[in-house]
């Protein structure tokens, strides 16, 4: 009985905690569809005007295109680098492994401002024009550790004897990779692509320092925050962005679970 009681209080606390986590996000759609220009209670009437306004802003379209382009390339490159690193970490022993992996994973615990200013200094010294390219270089740096973390579990759960069995049955290394390794880690790859895409789309600091005149969506958004009359439009844009992120995350999680099922493994953990 006491266990039930304890679980009961904890359950209530956990539920409140979830409310605390989600409350701010839930405000987004409420005020995105509210006709008042002031973000405050009581609510006025329902409107889709703020979404309609989004369609008209040229600068926003350019920012969206820039962000999507950056995020796509970042996702592809960081996943590719992630595959190499995760495969090496899971399968091989080599000298300096701990140090090398530590350096590659370092951005995970480094304040982004440090990454941003250090890259800025180097790019300016090299005379590199700040553009989408410099943002991509920065984003790949911070997304690769996440890709590795996701792919690591995929590669680690890959039984070495599966690869040996394929070799034993006559395949060469390329055949083993194509027929066995790739299909089995594919859910991890999809998951990594989606997560890296999401991180790059949402990332602000590095883009703020390195984007030059190619403003990304968060950089554009940052500019809008200064104008109080633009806030409802920002709420509308935020609603779309957050919905999109959540959609991508559900896809990523779905891919990961499918991978677990496909390998016939038991359900464990989640991201990271």
């Amino acid at each position: 009985m006491s266990a039930l009681f304890r679980g009961g209080w904890l359950r209530l606390y956990a539920a409140l905690y979830l409310v605390f986590l989600y409350l701010p996000i839930l405000l987004l759609p409420i005020f995105a569809f509210n006709s008042s220009t002031v973000i405050a209670f009581p609510l006025s009437s329902f409107t889709t005007e703020w979404f309609a306004q989004l369609v008209e802003v040229e600068a926003l379209h350019a920012a969206v295109l820039t962000s999507v382009r950056i995020a796509l390339i970042t996702a592809a490159v960081s996943t590719l680098l992630g595959i190499c690193a995760a495969r090496a970490a899971a399968r091989y022993r080599f000298p300096g492994k701990g140090g090398i992996m530590g350096l590659i994973m370092l951005p995970l615990v480094l304040p982004e401002i440090i990454v941003a200013v250090s890259l800025l200094v180097v790019f300016l010294q090299l005379g590199l024009q700040l553009s989408s390219l410099t943002v991509i270089l920065g984003h790949v740096l911070i997304c690769t550790p996440f890709s590795i973390a996701i792919l690591n579990s995929a590669f680690q759960s890959l039984d070495v004897s599966l690869e040996e069995a394929a070799i034993d049955l006559g395949e060469n290394s390329w055949g083993v990779f194509r027929l066995i390794v790739l299909p089995l880690v594919m859910p991890g790859i999809i998951s990594s692509l989606l997560i890296a895409f999401t991180i790059s789309m949402d990332e602000f600091i590095i883009a703020f320092f390195l984007s030059g005149s190619d403003a990304t969506l968060p950089v554009y958004l940052w500019g809008q925050l200064r104008f109080p009359q633009r806030l409802p439009v920002v709420m509308a844009l935020g609603t779309i962005l957050v919905s999109l992120s959540i959609l991508l995350l559900i896809l990523a999680e779905w891919a990961r679970r499918r991978g677990v099922r496909k390998r016939g493994g038991a359900e464990t953990g989640g991201f990271l």
């Binding site: 405000l27 987004l28 080599f94 250090s118 991180i199």
Partner: protein, 289 residues
Amino acid sequence: MTDLRTSGARRGLALISAPLLYAVLLLAAPMAAILAFSFWTQDYLTIDKSFTLTNYREAFTDPIYRELMIRSLKIAGLVTLVTVLLAFPVAYFISFHVPAGRKSLWIFLVTIPFWTSYLIRVFLWKVILGYNGVLNSGLIGLGLIDEPLTVILYNFNAVVITLAHAFAPFAILPIFVSLERIDRSLLEAAQDLGETRLSAFFRVTLPLAMPGVVAASLIVFIPTIGDYVTPRLVGGPGGLMIANMIQTQFLKLNNAPMGATLAVVAMVIVTIIALIFVALNRRYLRGRS
């Protein structure tokens, strides 16, 4: 004959070379550059590349820098404390009271907000805590207060609340993982040996969950100390942190060497604190075993 082990090492190195090269060129080299810059000085438009400790002297003596550094440490420390304390019961609940099949759903629910735009989440707190914001207008509408509260925006508290919210999922994950690793029969053994549920929690569960708590603390502390967006949006002049000054030095004052120095000082302090924390935990664990 070929030695498979050295050829394995060769393959591993070949595979790791691309990500390693990337990290060396775009992480190690830039960090080295920042370190070099911190010993140089800005001379109007050019950089004086003669070695000097002037910047460091200034960083430690100028009251503005010191104030910002101390405030950043205070905020990060407070945020870490609040986040970990609030997160532990949730992690405990998910690990010990949620049926196995539902755990990943809970973890997924907890992590989702973390992956949504940080900028928007922080901005939302500005909207919530503002003078005419959601909280004040809501409370006035409910008749609970007559005047808008002013203690909640553009100050130290606002920064702490916002950051604690932003980093909540970060803290839950590592604690959850360490709780999951605890063999449940250990708790049964403790109770069998006469411990109550509560004393078993303090004598078995908590010590075994300590690595997760330490990881959670570090994973919250390190990024918060370098946070830029939150102080700018909700901090006001009394809530600015060291990252804002670094940005100002680089982009507004055009004094990259001073910015670099502040960045290096911040990193060194963070590293020292992290190492002390890890060492304390090691000693604590060794004392237990």
